[in-house]
């Protein structure tokens, strides 16, 4: 039976930009046995890319290389199959695990608590929301609580301060439980927190989707301008080369084309946010069309 009690688990998603995040998986453990412990063995749910393991003082901890863990586990499987089944095979993803080596001068003594932080990044590239003019990456968090786990789990999402965070929850099976907490939608700005209580006798599932970007008003204004500039750009371009300005003189057409191209150029030069990359790619041809039309009207004698 394990001597290590998991007291608390925290998942912290820190976004430097909407599509760049650092994930801290934090375990607070307590030694409830009589012996000092020199390693902590953690089953994981996935491969953790760019992993760095720290303790509560920020001290970097070593972990065993995969080949050594694999070899040790194979020997356990052969010599003590029941122990292997309990410790490894019965976990949801037995292929992912880590054995953290505690510092020589700081083993986990009887009754002592220790916080271990597994800091990592995503191992795959971001996925962006469809049918949006802006580059808005989306993420999900899925949590399945098994009966018998007595600890609570904290989830925190921290978006960059100049963005708006949006979170959608699927928390039907946990919402009515005592101590459950999730930041109400009206209170979400660029932080979201949730506390998922121990499951007791009833397992539950908690899931969330989230994304972040500019505020809704900013997105509406930018998207609106893109459509307006595209329609206006095509119109002044067609009028310049095909004709059909319907009563507008060259000076008016020059002014419209100049306004469209100058404003678009301002956005192209000024928008430096990570969420703007798709928008800039869409706006560039719109600017080009308006600029060509402006030159044409200029030559025609506007």
């Amino acid at each position: 039976m394990s001597q290590v009690e998991l007291v608390r688990e925290r998942w912290i998603f820190d976004h430097i930009a909407p599509d760049v995040r650092s994930i801290t998986l934090e375990y607070t453990v307590r030694n409830r046995g009589p012996d000092e412990l020199f390693q902590i063995f953690l089953p994981l749910n996935a491969f953790l890319a760019n992993l760095q393991v720290l303790d509560e003082n920020g001290r970097e901890l070593n972990y065993l290389p995969n080949r050594e863990v694999e070899r040790a586990l194979q020997e356990v499987k052969k010599e003590k199959p029941a122990a292997y089944e309990r410790a490894v095979a019965s976990t949801p993803h037995p292929q992912y695990r880590i054995s953290i080596v505690l510092p020589k001068d700081a083993p986990l003594g009887p009754g002592e608590m220790r916080t271990l932080r597994l800091v990592h990044t995503d191992g795959e590239k971001p996925r962006y929301l469809f049918l949006r003019a802006l580059t808005l990456p989306s993420y999900h968090i899925a949590h399945v609580r098994r009966v018998g786990q007595p600890y609570g789990i904290h989830v925190a999402v921290n978006a960059p301060p100049d963005t708006q965070l949006e979170v959608e929850l699927d928390d039907e099976t946990v919402r009515s439980r005592e101590h459950y907490h999730a930041t109400p939608p009206q209170d979400i700005d660029y932080h979201f927190n949730a506390y998922l209580p121990p499951p007791g006798d009833e397992p539950y599932v908690w899931r969330a989707n989230y994304h972040m970007g500019p505020t809704l008003m900013e997105e509406l204004i930018l998207t609106g301008w893109l459509f307006l500039a595209a329609i206006g750009g095509v119109w002044v371009f067609a009028a310049a080369f095909v004709g059909g300005a319907s009563g507008m003189g060259p000076k008016e057409m020059l002014a419209i084309a100049g306004g469209l191209s100058a404003t678009s150029a301002g956005l192209l030069l000024g928008l430096r946010n990570a969420w703007a990359s798709r928008y800039l790619k869409l706006l560039l041809p719109v600017f080009a069309v308006a600029a060509v039309a402006w030159l044409r009207w200029f030559v025609l004698g506007g």
């Binding site: 070593n62 040790a72 949801p92 020589k104 929850l169 699927d170 939608p185």
Partner: protein
């Protein structure tokens, strides 16, 4: 058990158990010998890019 650190425990110093004829780090030996004592019952939580199809689209009001 009194003290499991009867051999260098840290780093990759190889020791030989003298029986299998294969070298083995003492850290790996510690893991093998203490696996059941040191395993942690972690949750099944995961996160990745992309959206899940949720049962509901909005956060329902929390009970008072």
């Amino acid at each position: 058990m009194a003290d499991p650190v009867d051999k260098p425990l840290y780093g990759a110093a190889d020791t030989n158990d003298g029986m299998s004829g294969e070298s083995e780090t003492s850290s790996a030996k510690y893991l093998k010998d203490h696996l059941e004592q040191i395993v942690v019952d972690t949750s099944e939580t995961s996160s990745a890019p992309g959206r899940l199809k949720l049962h509901e689209k909005k956060v329902a009001p929390r009970p008072e």
